[in-house]
C-alpha cells in the first residue's frame, strides 16, 4: 500500500505557502484496526499528510531538484479534533525556510473549521545518488518524472496557475 496522503493541492505560492487536502475514506486499510468500532485517522498519518504537503512546497520551490524529501524532525505536535471517514483534512503549511538540503515549516491541519493538529516540521532533501553513488543515478532518473506526474495528478500546475492569475489582478 502506498501512503499518498495528499489528494489535492488547493493553493500554492512557492516558496511561501501551500494548502492541500486529504479526504478520509472508510476504504483506508489502517482504519480497520484504528479502531474497529470508531475509525479515526491515526495521528501519525495526520503528521505524514502535513509532511507530504510541505514536501510539495519544497518541490515546487526548487524545481523538483531533490527526489527524496524526508521528515527529519517534528516538534510541538499538538492534536485537536479527530478526523473521521467522510471528513476532509485541510492542511496549511507555511515555510519558515527552504534551503537546498533542508527546510522548516509551520503546519496546521483543520477539519470542519476546527484544528485537528499543529506541528513544526523540519524536512531534509536529497537525491538517491547522494546516498548511493553507484545505483543512485538510475533511481533518480526514474523518480524525477514520477514526482512531476504526481504533481499534475494532485492539481499542482493548476494551483500554480491560479496563484499567478491572482497576482496579475
Amino acid at each position: 500500500m502506498k501512503f499518498f496522503l495528499v489528494d489535492r493541492i488547493l493553493e500554492l505560492e512557492p516558496p511561501k505557502r501551500i494548502v492541500a487536502v486529504k479526504n478520509v475514506s472508510l476504504a483506508e486499510e489502517y482504519l480497520a484496526d484504528h479502531f474497529p468500532a470508531y475509525p479515526v485517522l491515526p495521528g501519525v498519518m495526520m503528521v505524514e499528510a502535513l509532511v507530504q504537503t510541505a514536501a510539495w512546497l519544497v518541490r515546487a520551490s526548487t524545481d523538483f531538484e531533490k527526489n527524496l524529501i524526508l521528515l527529519k524532525e517534528a516538534q510541538n505536535v499538538r492534536y485537536g479534533t479527530f478526523v473521521k471517514p467522510g471528513m476532509q483534512l485541510v492542511m496549511e503549511v507555511t515555510a519558515l525556510e527552504i534551503g537546498p538540503d533542508a527546510s522548516r515549516f509551520k503546519a496546521t491541519g483543520r477539519c470542519e473549521g476546527q484544528v485537528a493538529l499543529q506541528a513544526k516540521l523540519t524536512l531534509q532533501h536529497l537525491n538517491v545518488a547522494d546516498a548511493d553513488p553507484y545505483g543512485g543515478a538510475e533511481a533518480d532518473a526514474l523518480l524525477r518524472p514520477f514526482w512531476r506526474e504526481r504533481f499534475r495528478l494532485v492539481g499542482g500546475p493548476a494551483a500554480l496557475a491560479a496563484a499567478a492569475g491572482r497576482e496579475g489582478t
Binding site: 484504528h34 479502531f35 474497529p36 468500532a37 470508531y38 491515526p42 495521528g43 501519525v44 516538534q75 510541538n76 505536535v77 499538538r78 492534536y79 479534533t81 479527530f82 473521521k84
Partner: protein, 139 residues
C-alpha cells in the same frame, strides 16, 4: 523495598518525557497525556513499553489503555459509549476518574481520562500486586 508514590511519579515522568518529548515541568499530575502532553495512539504503545522497562512489570495490551472498548458496537455506537461500554470502562479502569466521561460519554472524551496521575495510580496498584481486572467477552 516498595517504591513511594514520589519515586513512582519520577519514573512515570521520565517515561513520558522520553516517549512524548515534553519538558519535565510539563508532566504534572493533572496533565492529560493527550490534550496537554500531545500523545496520540501510537504514543500510548510507547508509553506502555517504557513503563514496563522502568518498573520491571508486564502490562498486557489493553490493561492501561483499554483499546478493546473501541472494538465492538456493543460498547460504542455512533461515537458514543453505550451503557455496556461505560460499565466495561469502569471495570477495566478502577484507578481512573471517569466522572466527566460519564456525564458526556463521547469516545472523543475518553482521552481526557488519561492523566499523569491516573498512570501513577495504575503503576502503584500493579506494584502492590493488585490483580488485573478480567476483560469481559463481548456477547
Amino acid at each position: 523495598m516498595p517504591l513511594s508514590r514520589d519515586e513512582i511519579m519520577d519514573k512515570v515522568r521520565q517515561a513520558l518525557v522520553d516517549a512524548l518529548g515534553v519538558d519535565e515541568d510539563e508532566v504534572i499530575p493533572t496533565a492529560r497525556i493527550g490534550a496537554d502532553l500531545g500523545a496520540e495512539s501510537i504514543d500510548y504503545l510507547d508509553i506502555v513499553f517504557r513503563l514496563e522497562k522502568a518498573f520491571n512489570i508486564k502490562i498486557p495490551r489493553g490493561d492501561l489503555f483499554p483499546d478493546g472498548v473501541l472494538t465492538t458496537e456493543e460498547f460504542v455506537q455512533q461515537g458514543t459509549f453505550t451503557p455496556r461500554g461505560l460499565e466495561e470502562l469502569k471495570t477495566r479502569m478502577p484507578y481512573a476518574d471517569l466522572g466527566a466521561l460519564l456525564k458526556d460519554p463521547k469516545v472523543q472524551n475518553l482521552a481526557d481520562v488519561f492523566t499523569v496521575d491516573m498512570i501513577v495510580r495504575f503503576v502503584e496498584a500493579r506494584l502492590s500486586g493488585a490483580e488485573a481486572p478480567a476483560p469481559s467477552k463481548p456477547a
